[in-house]
Symmetry: C2
Subunit: 201 residues, 2 copies
DNA sequence: CCTACCGATCGGTAGG
DNA sequence: CCTACCGATCGGTAGG
């Protein structure tokens, strides 16, 4: 009954690295164990199955996206400002928890059907946050008459793509990447008018 | 010395379906063989290795992108029109050769290091076609002063994402999806002026 | 293209 | 957390 077992987190971290590098199916339980200087079977003192490890990684990534973006989506703001902040928050998660995000995005299909369905539903809800923010802007006249559902998909596809090419050593900081994306998409939605300005923190 | 062995194509088609559904690593040689009503080992009468099958799929997908988009990129057009046509062509490949495109995009990391390097180089060249088209528009003043390299990545991320959500049974046709993307991105690049119009076929 | 097989490795468990 | 092991499955081959 201690606060939390750090060993389990170490396992998830090591697994996250390997799942991202080699993919879930091509990573063996022994690979994960050896990364932590354990014997293959010893991992099962801490986890019940390989899939449970993937599940833990996927859930903690999903939780982070929701924790960062959810409050902004629920806040009272202009659609353009809200969307800009949501994009920034999403990119911040992708870049700061890059491994987990990449595993979440690429490897969730290896979950059991039940768990996959749970994640599919969560992803759809999350996408809904973007749909609603866009629809708000269409309704208020801030944005042009675009298809909010399709636009949400386009934006999230581009933002999620960052997980597969971003490098902390690149020429652009995570914040710059976020702003570039926000600029580009807000521009695309608010055409024929100047982009809204006057940032809030 | 016949024209072409169709059995090999059948193998690649079946493998493309399975690699897309389950991923390369989680698809066994027996899975592929059984999809063609063969015994596991019999596949090796036609192919030398599982990786060779993946390689064939990846190469034919890459070839298609180049064949469709390359000539447009090399053509003499306004940057906006050129980019619009390139986006359309890219989306056409993604949607018409969806399985191959998805395998190409998601599973190429399971290739041997040498082959992976070859594909990485080809992908960079291909991305260069978009970079150059964008840079052309920046140079001519058609587009605003944006980072062509980053913008090319953003556009291709979104376009490639289509491979993972497009369904021929969806509400939108492939052509509509292509136009939506072209509209959105051209708008984002040509801000503060009306989008260029007057389509060529 | 099949049958029958190879060594290697897989996820997971027992028993300590 | 280790040793030692389980049955199952893997990619690939021999020999026809």
């Amino acid at each position: 009954m201690t606060t939390d077992t750090p060993r389990k987190q170490q396992i998830e971290d090591a697994a996250s690295t390997l799942f991202r590098e080699r993919g879930y199916a091509a990573t063996s339980v022994r690979d994960i164990a050896h990364a932590l200087d354990m014997q293959g079977g010893s991992l099962y003192a801490h986890v019940a199955s390989k899939e449970d490890v993937l599940w833990a990684i996927v859930v903690r990534a999903a939780d982070r996206f929701n924790a960062e973006v959810g409050p902004i989506a629920a806040s009272d703001r202009t659609a353009a400002r809200k969307l800009r902040k949501m994009i920034r928050a999403h990119v911040a998660v992708v870049t700061s928890a890059q491994k987990d995000a990449a595993v979440f995005l690429d490897e969730w299909r290896f979950l059991s059907p039940e768990r996959r369905a749970t994640i599919a539903a969560r992803r759809d809800d999350y996408e809904g946050l973007f749909r609603k923010a866009i629809a708000q802007g269409v309704g208020s006249g801030e944005f042009g008459r675009i298809d909010s559902a399709q636009t949400a998909i386009v934006i999230l596809s581009a933002l999620n793509g960052i997980a597969s090419w971003y490098s902390p050593d690149g020429n652009l900081t995570a914040a710059q990447i976020a702003d570039q994306h926000a600029d580009l998409f807000i521009r695309a939605l608010t055409w024929a008018k100047p982009t809204d300005e006057g940032e809030d923190p």
